[in-house]
Symmetry: C2
Subunit: 320 residues, 2 copies
């Protein structure tokens, strides 16, 4: 018995087969059609899904999907911010037509990440965990009392919108001073450029281009590792903001553990040291001091494994 696991992102589509032990048996990836309309995107996904499903040879017991928000949940009508071609796209209904007779379940991709880390990653054995992704955006998922928390509309876990600077930068959500507005990769790179950062140590003639590039946060982490003072300050800025948000989340939810994945978490102690410093300065009560922060353990397979868990471990991860 296997689950067809689907992980849909702005740059790549991944589909895999996950067995009942949570092992990813096989997977395939294709680029997300750039600028694709609703049909282009669906054809690319459906083609990939069918090619992978064929290899399940009648063993398929369900389909699990992780995709960027927002979406109507649990119906699975999706409008991923980073895929303008899909607006109110009935993704679950379409996949249910292709794979009739088995359950098709969906959640936010950051929730799928958190579920995977709880089931088989760094959060294994913890009953009260936040799984967090720091990358182009900042997202997360919340496991409390050993069960995935959905909230009223499937949107629990939005750690990126804990407010860390009440009068801080405008956020894509329409608010201001959210963790995401401060610590997402492009915001950090933009902040560093405004402070005079020269990516790669070279004066740049095209700061606006660089600001927009997905590569800029990676370059920032690289320059920080090489000792660039502005890049280091940017990492501290991100780490401190994350630490503040985690102190608030720990107080509200009495967490045992936070696991952090995503591109920016690759910066290692450049991020984790200021993060720990700010978390420990604010989380002082006995119960809050025990929270641990660990890098994610599963790497890029987390999205597929978490999506599969919506089917395979529905006792813990599916209340929809």
């Amino acid at each position: 018995m296997v689950v067809l696991a689907v992980d849909i992102g702005g740059t790549k589509l991944a589909v895999g087969l996950v067995d009942t032990d949570g092992e990813l048996v096989l997977s395939e990836r294709v680029p997300t059609p750039p600028g694709g309309d609703a049909d282009d995107l669906w054809k690319a996904l459906a083609g990939l899904a069918e090619s992978v499903a064929e290899r399940a040879a009648g063993e398929l017991i369900g389909v699990g999907i992780g995709v960027g928000g927002p979406m109507a949940w649990p119906e699975g009508v999706v409008s991923p911010l980073n895929m303008p071609g899909w607006r109110d796209f009935p993704l679950v209904a379409r996949l249910s037509e292709r794979f009739p007779g088995i359950p098709v379940r969906i959640h936010n991709d950051a929730v799928a990440f958190a579920v995977a880390e709880h089931w088989r990653g760094a959060g294994h054995g913890s009953d009260n965990m936040l799984g967090m992704v720091v990358s182009t955006g900042v997202g997360g998922g919340l496991i409390l009392g050993g069960h995935l928390i959905d909230g009223g509309t499937g949107n629990a876990g939005h750690i990126g919108h804990i407010i860390v600077e009440p009068d801080g930068p405008a956020c894509g959500c329409g608010g201001r001073g959210c963790l995401e507005a401060v610590a997402r990769g492009p915001a950090l790179a933009s902040w560093a450029l405004a402070q005079g950062w020269q990516p790669g140590g070279r004066p740049s003639l095209e700061p606006l281009y660089l600001e927009a590039a997905a590569a800029s946060a990676r370059q920032l982490a690289f320059d920080a590792a090489a000792g660039d003072p502005i890049a280091l300050a940017a990492m501290r800025r991100a780490g401190r903001a994350i630490g503040l948000a985690l102190a608030s989340a720990t107080h509200l939810c009495d967490l045992d553990l936070v696991t952090i994945g995503g591109g920016l978490s690759q910066a290692g102690k450049l991020i984790f040291d200021p993060l720990e410093e700010s978390l420990r300065a604010h989380a002082r009560m006995d119960f809050a001091q025990r929270v641990r922060v660990l890098p994610a353990a599963l790497g890029q397979d987390a999205g597929l494994i978490g999506a599969a868990a919506l089917i395979l471990r529905s006792d813990r991860y599916w209340a929809g």
Copy 2:
């Protein structure tokens, strides 16, 4: 069948009988012995509990307790901040000796408040609710997916320690800039005095005395209602800080509803208007816009009703 409900505070001890419909059948209150040692406090409580329990005439099916934190939970070894006479006092064990053969269960008093509001108050019918008390301290309890969230050590719901001013005033928890440090009654009164507030419109010769008095926050609300500009500014300061914390909590937990009780919530629109303004400015995503904020419905009986619910509705409110 009835439950013996116990609500223990720094100024009063309350014990009541609650029937299976959640109705408070009778209750008695006595002042908490001021400056009492462990034994004084226990004798006062035990005497009151026995006098009320006698009137249950063999119908007693359990004991539920709400008390200020911190405590070892679910064991119920308590050290309430506002009762220095009890440090590591084995409250549950002592009550179990007095009332053998029936369950004795305990939770934080703000959690008991939230449970009561969810079961029979303003939160009835909501599956994702924060119940919050704004008074000498700021506390709360969290119901998600229709069930009380305990967190790893029974401390979930600490909304008072969401950070609203990262470099703000020192907090009793050891941190800085927590909601409680800004919005608890004494902090507000102290802030207003520092701005030149003259309580009751009279210049005060004893600002330090007033600052310490429990009455000062009530006076502040009274003066705000009378139009005192500094008192009004203090209410706005509290309302905004609460709104910020609620935006963060709503994003993290995808709440339907927040109910607010406690002394300061009596100030009505003087607090709720700036609260709503700041909440709505920061909670902009569709899912977050739907959160509603309501004054608590149950008044001073909430603590007893919530404590009883730990026994009567253990399916929802007791995982200890």
